[in-house]
């Protein structure tokens, strides 16, 4: 690690790395949600968090404020982020439908009960 970048915070701009750090936290929180929540809706929220963490990275890469003019991804960053948002919405719709079906079949949203595929 070259220099710890929290050293001159508040006086210098942040970089892509800082955004990525936040994105990493969101991502890992999402993963933990998925891994630790027994509630299917909790898992869905974890997915949203994961996608959001990824989005943050896209935005960071695309931003001119973080990497200077003409350095970043340009419009690709926000466009990708937009697509992720839209697809996340679609994913949420389908996932909710699945959860509803699951609830209809099991009278529960505990995904630990969906283990018919175990070896």
């Amino acid at each position: 690690m070259h220099h710890f970048m929290l050293a001159n915070l508040l006086t210098e701009p942040v970089g892509v790395a800082h955004y990525m750090a936040v994105g990493a936290v969101l991502f890992v929180c999402g993963v933990l949600c998925m891994a630790l929540k027994r509630n299917a809706l909790g898992v869905l929220m974890g997915i949203e968090l994961v996608l959001n963490g990824a989005n943050l990275n896209f935005i960071a890469f695309g931003s001119r404020f973080l990497r200077g003019e003409g350095q970043g991804l340009g419009l690709d960053g926000p466009l990708m982020a937009l697509f992720v948002i839209v697809l996340a919405a679609a994913e949420a719709a389908v996932a909710l439908a699945i959860v509803l079906n699951f609830y209809n079949n099991y009278d529960s949203v505990d995904i630990d009960r969906a283990d018919q595929l175990q070896g």
Binding site: M1, H2, M5, L9, L10, T11, E12, P13, V14, G15, V16, A17, M20, A21, V22, A24, V25, C29, V31, L32, C33, L36, K37, R38, L41, L44, M45, E48, L49, N52, N55, L56, I59, G62, S63, R64, F65, L66, G68, G74, L75, P78, L79, L82, F83, I85, V86, L87, A89, A90, A92, A93, V94, L96, A97, I98, V99, N104, V109, D110
Partner: protein, 201 residues
Amino acid sequence: MGDGIYWPTFFFLLFSALACGFALAVVFSRNVVRMAFYLVMSLASTAGLFFLAGEDFVGAMQLMIYVGGTLVLLIFGVMLTSQKQFVEMKTPAGQWIVGLVTGCALVALLWMAAFETPQWQPISRAEAEAVAVQPTATPIGVALTNGRVDQLDQPDETLRGGMSSYLLPFEIVSVHLLVVLIGAAYLARAKRRSPSAAAPG
């Protein structure tokens, strides 16, 4: 001005602290409705980060769609788990420990990767202040339908044709959304019992 507080960094710290904190709250909350609330807060803070990065449009989009989407999540949470026994589903402590260790390791890894890459270091303050504010909706709109305004001065002629637009992905995503809507409606529709299964008489 000068070497004083660089306000965008201040707000970055604020919003990132909110986003991370609420994300952690999501992980550690047991009540699904509270989880949803924290999630919205986290997402809204992220939207703030988007605004800070100069992407107003995506930020507004984030607010709009995630709020709408999470709202629905919330409703489902309330509806499906309003019975008491489902509100709290305990995860074994062992899994918590394993999960947290893994999560910490992963975060450490990602942070290391992020901060060790020279290209991702911050630019100087003067450089950042020189960046002009630009409208964000119009380029995105043009890029989705017609072409890339940020690539107008692309020196490589051969590359310019390839940077025409995101029209096709846009269309694909649109159709995808439609399909998903129909599919979700089909999946979630109320199953009616067939008349033959009904009791005679």
